[in-house]
């Protein structure tokens, strides 16, 4: 057997600060897709109680300590930061997505304005408040976007698109900074 070396999605990537915005790579973590079987909602809810989590409403995410359950589609959520509890498998299709997604956080008051250049959804706190999680495109990439703080959002995309995401976002920040400089 060849020896394979596990690498983080953002191996060696340092955070970038421009125009008062901090773009930072997020650590890889366990990610499991939980797709409810028809009629499986109650059974899944019982199984998820052991994590202290309820199944999230559409466009929401819930957390208990470092463990999150993020809505990602109809009757589907991503369990992030923990292994799925025993007893869940009978009520939902549970599949390991760990290593399949890469995330970044964007922090700063102008984050929504910067992301507006790539994401056709209003991400200002008024319409994208605490606890919000949506599926939306980042340019051509399908993403999961979460609000994780008053001035912080996370963007998760397929890991194969990590470098493209980083490129697109750093380009936006560069232009955003240039615009701010000109405006004085």
């Amino acid at each position: 057997m060849p020896e394979l070396i596990a690498k983080e999605a953002w191996q060696g990537q340092a955070a970038v600060t421009r125009a008062g915005l901090v773009l930072a790579p997020l650590q890889d973590r366990p990610i499991w897709s939980v797709a409810l079987f028809p009629g499986g909602a109650d059974g899944a809810a019982t199984a998820l109680e052991s994590l202290g989590l309820g199944f999230p409403e559409p466009n929401r995410w819930v957390s208990a300590a470092e463990v999150r359950l993020v809505w990602t589609g109809r009757a589907q959520a991503f369990l992030m930061g923990a292994e799925p509890p025993a007893g869940l498998a009978g009520h939902a299709a549970v599949t390991d997505q760990s290593g399949g997604w890469a995330g970044v956080s964007l922090s700063g008051p102008a984050g929504p304005e910067a992301l507006a250049r790539l994401v056709p959804v209003d991400l200002r706190p008024g319409s994208f408040p605490a606890g919000a999680a949506i599926r939306a495109p980042v340019n051509h990439m399908s993403a999961v976007i979460l609000r994780t703080g008053p001035e912080t959002v996370e963007v998760w995309v397929f890991r194969s698109m990590a470098r493209t995401l980083w490129h697109e976002l750093t380009e936006v920040l560069a232009r955003f900074e240039a615009r701010a400089t000109v405006a004085g």
């Binding site: 589609g73 949506i134 495109p137």
Partner: protein
Amino acid sequence: MRLTCPLCGDRDRREFHYYGSDAYLDRPAEGAAPAAWDDYLHNRDNPAGLTKDLWYHEQGCAQWLVVTRNTVTHEVSAVELVAGRAGA
């Protein structure tokens, strides 16, 4: 153009993929007459007024939607999930 996805809310047209008439939801049963298959596959009305189309929210929740719109006024009057329909 914007569509209000029943799950995701008001979204830009670029998130959606157009498929065609909602007639594609009513697939003839096995052994149906050739005329039924002809209708299912080929024969479409082109109404001036209300029409129902299938759209896919590919950049959002990945759900198939039935969109009711008016080809005269461009008004979108309903967007419904295909999932959960009777027989779906």
